[in-house]
Amino acid sequence: MTYAIEAQGLTKRFGNTQALAGIDLAAHQGTVLGVLGPNGAGKTTAVRVLATLLRADSGTARVAGYDVARSPQQVRQNIGLTGQYASVDEDLTGVQNLVMIGQLLDLRAGAARRRAHELLEWFDLSDAADRVAKTYSGGMRRRLDLAASLVGRPSVIFLDEPTTGLDPAKREDMWDVVRRLVDDGSTVLLTTQYLEEADALADEITVIDHGRVIAHDTPDGLKRVLGGQRLSVRPSDAAHLDVLATLLGEIAGRRPEREGRDTLTVAVDGDDVLAATVSRLHSAGIRVTELSLHLPSLDEVFFTLTGTRTAADTDTEEEAVA
């Protein structure tokens, strides 16, 4: 399988900030690579280097088969970029924005207009085609921005936090779009602070923090390596919590943790613990409202890897280099 994106040892320093401290990234053609990390981890800087907006201090990167430092124009022929901040022109209408990009990509005026309307229709923006982008809602603007990055039919698409600030329904719409792009053969590099998003979309996930890669695997692989399975039980009657804790401790051989007000969670080995738990609960006469065996969430994975809470919890620091 060939790599559509391949980077080795990328470093970049801004003044006193080491934004990238030697990053390796790789995405097979036709897959989604999720780059996951908190604010300031270096995600945006990495994307800017790969999209030829920024030169790395050292390291090499190839995108769509071309070296980003040596053949930037060839790279630009093959990529689409959707920035963290929607980078459409607010004073232009939807169609004007897309036609302009088409013409900059050397389409003739007529072809640029056709392509613009095709994309507007696909992104359900036809009704707003002649409205100034300033008047668009956040979700519409993201869609227009993504449409703008697809005018040139890129084979590699960079999506830098494409759903930040969108409500959950709009986020799911955006996920659908990403999936369809990949079905079509495109390679997508997606940066996100949302673990759920990486889990939902990415074939492989690279976790970065402080400009370094701290893990790389498939979503399931990451969860398996770092966590094992977890058993959560919530008794109907909170008075049973102490008895339950003892019981779960015996089953798992570890002390359960209290999660929330009245749920106990414990890491377990093997799949047969569920049956054992059900029968022990029954014989102890403890009724439960919730009982589940699941992989740890990526949130837990991240905490294990970095020792810090993710952006969803803190969310204060600005990305060091926006």
Binding site: T52, L104, S155, D184
Partner: protein, 275 residues
């Protein structure tokens, strides 16, 4: 979002797309980007105040408030002397907006999109300069048009007056690269204005714009005599109200070449480095 629509093909170049011929590619890109700037100006016409209402105010102010005192006699004679000067000043002042606009544009992320496209690095800058042509054309028309209303008269020929407008606009399109460079370097649009005023005020007042150079102390005359605005004003004066122009035209063209040679590379480098 509808899920029934067919997705667009992601192949790099689809055959149904008709490509423009590669000839004059960079020029075509600059024109496309100039169109973008013109659409923006069209949507926010208040951006044209400095080339429409401001010239009218300057004319009224300097002719009717200061004119009597400065000329010591004929207001008409002073208007004939002043108008080419104000035009030169207007061109220097008019350039400030370009740097400000580019500075705020870059902050908005539109330029990131341009940088990710396979176009020349200079295209967005050259495009903005192309669009500025129309602002300077408006400036010239307003000065000469409103000047006529209050009594200014061209004493040479229509052709000479046209040459004056042409030279003024050509000079403006060279001078504005200073503003672009400052716009790339400055942190905010406000600081672009501050820095440019520091440059434009001495250039436009320390010149032959408002009073004859011979009335100034010797050290100031030395500055006035190399000041590019003085030479532009001298050339425009010669072309509109009649006077020898050869030396001023040569100086002006020399300055234009120098401005381009210095500030185009500086502006492009600053643009490239602005991450």
């Amino acid at each position: 979002m509808s899920t029934t629509l067919a997705p667009p093909k992601a192949s790099p170049v689809a055959h149904e797309d008709v490509l423009a011929p590669p000839r004059l590619r960079n020029l075509r890109h600059a024109v496309v980007l100039a169109k973008r700037n013109l659409i923006k100006t069209w949507r926010t016409p208040e951006q044209l105040i400095d080339v429409t209402i401001q010239p009218v105010i300057f004319l009224l102010l300097f002719v009717y408030v200061f004119g009597g005192a400065i000329s010591g006699g004929s207001r008409h004679d002073y208007l004939q002397f002043l108008l080419p000067g104000l035009l030169g000043q207007g061109i220097a002042l008019g350039s400030i907006a370009l740097g400000q606009n580019m500075n705020s544009d870059i902050e908005k992320g539109v330029f990131d999109r341009f940088r990710s496209l396979p176009i020349a690095r200079s295209a967005p800058l050259v495009g903005a300069v192309f669009a500025d042509f129309f602002r300077y054309l408006i400036l010239c028309l307003i000065y000469i048009g409103f000047g006529y209303v209050i009594g200014f008269r061209i004493e040479t020929s229509a052709l000479a007056a046209l040459a004056a407008v042409g030279l003024s606009i050509a000079f403006a399109l060279c001078f504005c690269w200073i503003s672009i460079w400052v716009g790339m370097k400055a942190r905010t649009p406000g600081s672009v204005q501050g820095v440019m005023f520091l440059l434009v005020l001495p250039l436009s007042f320390g010149s032959n714009t408002f009073v004859a150079t011979s009335t100034m102390p010797g050290w100031l005359q030395a500055f006035v005599k190399v000041n590019p605005i003085s030479h532009l004003v001298g050339a425009v004066r010669g072309l509109t109200v009649g006077a020898p122009i050869a030396s001023d035209v040569v100086w002006t063209v020399g300055w234009m070449a120098a401005l381009l040679a210095i500030f185009v590379p500086l502006a492009l480098r600053a643009y490239r480095r602005r991450a």
